[in-house]
Each structure stands twice: as structure tokens, then as C-alpha cells.
């Protein structure tokens, strides 16, 4: 209980500091939602040239893009801040976090809960609603459950990728942009039907890392479409398992990383 109050105090302080600079806040809010708007516009621009990409029409592709966007926006809002870890490790400020009697990860997240990313979550779910309306889905209870869980599974999965990528800084302080290849790169990867990618690249990102289960497989299961790549059409229902597995790996990596952390000296 006392712990919860401490977390609430951290989050409250953050909210107050944000609201102290209202104009900056509004600009950052708009800038963040703009990034997601442009991701969706990119898909629309590509469909100006053709009516099918990787064998999928615009409504189907948009469904995949929007499940990923909604999941990513949630993950980025709640967990995305963890990618500041490299600055904390470099400067040694992680020490201050570790000496407090609270969990290190929740503190890092609440120390700078990015309210500016809220509008992006709203937009992500808005596009998802539009995409669901554009597709002719034969609703069954299982599918209702799947569409409810998909953005959350996407959040857990992409959040785990955020944590794993950030943990890289425990071993390689100058890892810099490498993490972005998997966080933002993973989001972009899962924003398109994975049929478009070459076999090796797809094998690596979609199946070895599991990005196929962010939006591609769930969308196929919702649409009742057979997978041109050969997985059973119900494979999308495995998305929660993949998300949980990713979370388990992320937990392991994070704990090992924290134990490995040796401050900066002096």
C-alpha cells in the first residue's frame, strides 16, 4: 500500500511538471500523434499505386497496421521510456533508482510517464475501429475475444522488445540506435502483411523473434483467411502465448542486466 502511494507520488509529480509548460505539452502531444498519423498515411499512399500489397487489399492491410499501431502506442506510452536507460547507465544516475526501496523498472517508467504520448493511443485505437468497420468480419465469441486481446498482446510483446532492447545498455553502453531497429523496426515490420518480406528476413523477424503474432496472424484469424505462408488460420489465437513468452524473456534479461550493472565509479 505504501509502495503504491510512492508510485502515485512519482506519477503525480510527473503530471504536474508536464502541465507547468502547457504550450510545450500541446506541441509534443501533436508531434507524437503526427508520427502515427504519417505511418497510416504512408500505407494509404502506397495503396495509391496498387490495390494489393503482398496479396492483401487495403482494408485487410489497414487492419494489420492498426492492430500494430494500437499495441505500439500503448507499449510506447507505458514502457517506451525504458529506452532512456542508456543515458542513466552512462551517467550513473541509475544508482539513485536502485537505492530506493521500490522496483527499478516501475520507477524508471513513472519517473517520466510520457503524457504527451496519450493522444497517439487514442488515434491508434480510432484507426483500429475504422479498420474493423471496413472489413467484413464474421463475428464469433472467439473473434470478439481475439480483437479485445490483440492490442493488449501487441502491447505486452512490443513492451518486452522495448525492455530487451534497452537492457542492451547494461552490456553495451554505446548501443545507441541498435535498439530502434527492433522497437521501431519491429513496429514497421508488423505494420505490413509479412508476405511482402524476403524469406530470410521474414524468418528472422516474423518467426524467430515472433513479430508475426503482433498483427499478421491475429488479423488472419479475425478475417478467417488462410495463411498464404502455411500456418493454420487459427494460429492468431496463439498471440497471447507469444506475448507471455516474450514477457518472460524480457523479465529474465532485465534481471540479469540489473545484476550486471556496475555504476560508473568515482
Amino acid at each position: 500500500m505504501g509502495e503504491l502511494r510512492a508510485y502515485a507520488a512519482l506519477a503525480g509529480a510527473q503530471a504536474r511538471s508536464v502541465l507547468a509548460y502547457r504550450a510545450s505539452f500541446v506541441v509534443e502531444l501533436l508531434g507524437n500523434v503526427g508520427a502515427t498519423v504519417f505511418d497510416v498515411l504512408t500505407v494509404l499512399a502506397l495503396f495509391r499505386a496498387t490495390d494489393r500489397i503482398g496479396g492483401f487489399a487495403l482494408p485487410e492491410a489497414l487492419l494489420m497496421t492498426s492492430i500494430t499501431s494500437a499495441g505500439f502506442a500503448l507499449a510506447d506510452f507505458l514502457i517506451g521510456n525504458v529506452d532512456r536507460l542508456k543515458t542513466y547507465v552512462r551517467a550513473g544516475t541509475l544508482d539513485a533508482v536502485l537505492v530506493r526501496p521500490l522496483g527499478a523498472l516501475p520507477q524508471l517508467l513513472l519517473m517520466d510517464l510520457p503524457m504527451r504520448k496519450l493522444l497517439r493511443v487514442v488515434f491508434g485505437f480510432g484507426v483500429l475501429a475504422v479498420a474493423l468497420g471496413l472489413n467484413d468480419i464474421d463475428w464469433t465469441p472467439a473473434r470478439v475475444l481475439l480483437i479485445t486481446l490483440s492490442p493488449l498482446c501487441g502491447m505486452v510483446f512490443l513492451g518486452s522488445i522495448f525492455v530487451i532492447s534497452a537492457s542492451l545498455a547494461f552490456w553495451w553502453v554505446d548501443s545507441g540506435e541498435v535498439g530502434s531497429a527492433f522497437t521501431y523496426g519491429g513496429r514497421d515490420f508488423a505494420s505490413y502483411p509479412i508476405t511482402v518480406y524476403g524469406p530470410v528476413f521474414r524468418g528472422l523477424f516474423a518467426y524467430a523473434l515472433g513479430f508475426a503474432f503482433v498483427s499478421y496472424q491475429p488479423a488472419l484469424a479475425l478475417l478467417g483467411r488462410a495463411d498464404p505462408l502455411g500456418l493454420p488460420s487459427g494460429a492468431g489465437f496463439a498471440a497471447p502465448l507469444v506475448a507471455l513468452a516474450a514477457a518472460a524473456v524480457a523479465t529474465g534479461v532485465w534481471r540479469t542486466g540489473i545484476r550486471h550493472y556496475r555504476s560508473t565509479g568515482s
Binding site: A23, S24, V27, E28, G31, G34, A35, F38, D39, L41, T42, A45, L46, R48, A49, T50, D51, R52, I53, G54, G55, W172, D174, S175, G176, E177, V178, S180, A181, G185, D188, F189, Y192, T195, V196, Y197, G198, F201
Partner: protein, 286 residues
């Protein structure tokens, strides 16, 4: 003001012009050397550029595969692959993403020491940025292009003038990008905190520069308006279209000329803004 300062500039006994050129060269050299020390960041950034190169290339090739005649927006598949991989390389040469060094120095007051130097800040920062981009051209440009060439058929230039024109276009793109970044950073003279403008710049430059998709996919009237009305397409889209030989020789040359116009206009504007800012600058702190 400028006439007086020229005597300070002349460190070498060879006359003011030679002196200015030597100073400019020395500043560019130091910009180059500075980035040679960020080796790990260079490797990390290149890795990410390559991953995004695969992503964008596969998506655009899939678009081409299902387009009538396999030529979306007038690019064939080799031109598309060239567009993507050279784009991933150029991204860090023109430094499309954030640059907030000047804004930070204005906010902290360090800019005062820039103003004390005998070289105008605009010139000094331009020299350093050209040095930085030369380093990026040798490292971060080459790696994605090599990976792209190994994995995808790229366009081999068919005209003699394409390669020299591309190099000129890259140089102009760096200047145009620098001009924009300088102006965005200079808002800090008035706003103290330029994070908002910088964020808007990063957002606009990516999409209007042609990084996410070639602007030719947009309706003609919109693409032309963007090209003539904003400097962004001159930063990435133009050098890429020049290299991919998307257009005939005349239009190819005209696009580079348009870039040159933007480069001159932005530098003049940045100089004017800098002059105004210096007149009203109050350095904070005691």
C-alpha cells in the same frame, strides 16, 4: 563590422581570403574528426539503417510486384531499390533527424562564446556540418549501399552526368538541411526552448523529404507544390531521384538547380535571422 573582423581572421600572412578558406577548412576538418571518435555510435546507427533498408525495400518491391507494369510512380524495381538503399545511407549524411546543438547552446548561454569568435556562427556551424557529412558519406552512406547492392539489383547509372550530379546534389542537400536545422534551432533565441519546433521539423522532414515513401506516389499537384513550396523534398527526394535516374536529363538538372536555389535562400534567411537574434540576445545567468 565584417570589414573590421576580417583583420582578426587573418592568422596566416597570405591575405584575408586565403585566411578565411584556411579557417573554414580547419573547422570542417574538426567536424570530420569529431565524428571519427564516435565509432560505436556509427556502427550502431548503420546497423539500424540497414534493418530499415530491408523493411522499406521489401515493402516497395511488393507494391511494384502488384502494380500494373511493375512501375509504381514511374520507378522500376531497380530504381526503387536504389531509392531505398541510397536513402538509408543519405539519411545520416543530411542528418534528417534532430540536431539541437545550437538550441542547447542558446538555452545555456554558451552561444555567447560562439559570438566572441572572429568567425560568424553560421559559417562556423556550416563548416563543422560539412565536415560531419563528409565523415557520414564515407561511413554511414557506404555501408547500406553495399548491403543493398549485395542483396538487391540496384540501378547502374546510364548517363555520364548522373554520378557527378548526384554528388553535387548531396552537397546541396546537406546545405539545405543545415539551413533548415539552423533556422529551427535559432527559434531558441526567442523561445529559449526549441524542443517543439525541433520535433515538428523531425516529423515534417521525414515524410515530406521522401523517406517513408517516394513523394511521386502523391498526386502530381501535391508533389509539385511540396517541391516548389518547401525545402524538404530537396533534402532527400532530389538526390535520390537524381541517382535513380527517375527523370530525363533536363528535369534531373532542373531539380538540382531548384536545390541550389533553396540552399542560397535558406542560408540568406539564416544569416538574416542570426543578425536579428544577435541584436536582441540577452545571455542568461551571472
Amino acid at each position: 563590422m565584417a570589414g573590421k573582423d576580417a583583420s582578426v581572421l587573418t592568422i596566416s600572412p597570405d591575405g584575408p581570403l586565403r585566411g578565411s578558406i584556411t579557417t573554414f577548412g580547419a573547422l570542417a576538418g574538426s567536424g570530420f574528426r569529431r565524428y571519427t571518435t564516435y565509432r560505436q555510435a556509427t556502427i550502431a546507427g548503420t546497423f539500424t539503417n540497414v534493418v530499415f533498408g530491408y523493411l522499406r525495400c521489401y515493402v516497395l518491391l511488393a507494391v511494384a510486384a502488384s502494380t500494373l507494369g511493375n512501375r509504381p510512380a514511374g520507378y522500376d524495381t531497380e530504381q526503387l531499390a536504389t531509392y531505398v538503399w541510397l536513402g538509408q545511407g543519405l539519411l545520416s549524411v543530411v542528418m534528417l533527424w534532430g540536431w539541437s546543438e545550437l538550441a542547447e547552446r542558446i538555452r545555456t548561454g554558451d552561444v555567447a562564446s560562439d559570438l566572441l569568435r572572429p568567425v560568424p556562427p553560421l559559417v562556423a556551424y556550416l563548416a563543422a556540418d560539412l565536415g560531419r557529412s563528409a565523415h557520414a558519406m564515407l561511413t554511414r552512406f557506404v555501408a547500406p549501399v553495399v548491403v543493398g547492392a549485395l542483396c538487391f539489383p540496384l540501378r547502374v547509372p546510364t548517363r555520364w552526368q548522373t554520378v557527378p550530379l548526384f554528388l553535387v546534389s548531396v552537397l546541396l542537400a546537406v546545405v539545405v538541411s543545415f539551413g533548415c536545422r539552423y533556422l529551427v534551432n535559432a527559434t531558441a533565441y526567442w523561445l529559449h526552448d526549441a524542443r517543439g519546433p525541433i520535433m515538428m521539423w523531425v516529423l515534417g522532414a521525414g515524410v515530406l523529404g521522401g523517406l517513408y515513401f517516394p513523394l511521386r506516389l502523391l498526386p502530381d499537384w501535391l508533389a509539385i507544390t511540396l517541391w516548389l513550396g518547401t525545402p524538404m523534398p530537396s533534402i532527400l527526394q532530389t538526390p535520390l531521384d537524381v541517382a535513380a535516374e527517375r527523370d530525363g536529363p533536363d528535369l534531373q538538372l532542373a531539380l538540382v538547380a531548384l536545390q541550389a536555389g533553396w540552399a542560397v535562400a535558406l542560408l540568406a534567411l539564416a544569416a538574416a535571422v542570426q543578425r536579428r537574434a544577435e541584436r536582441r540576445l540577452v545571455v542568461q545567468g551571472g
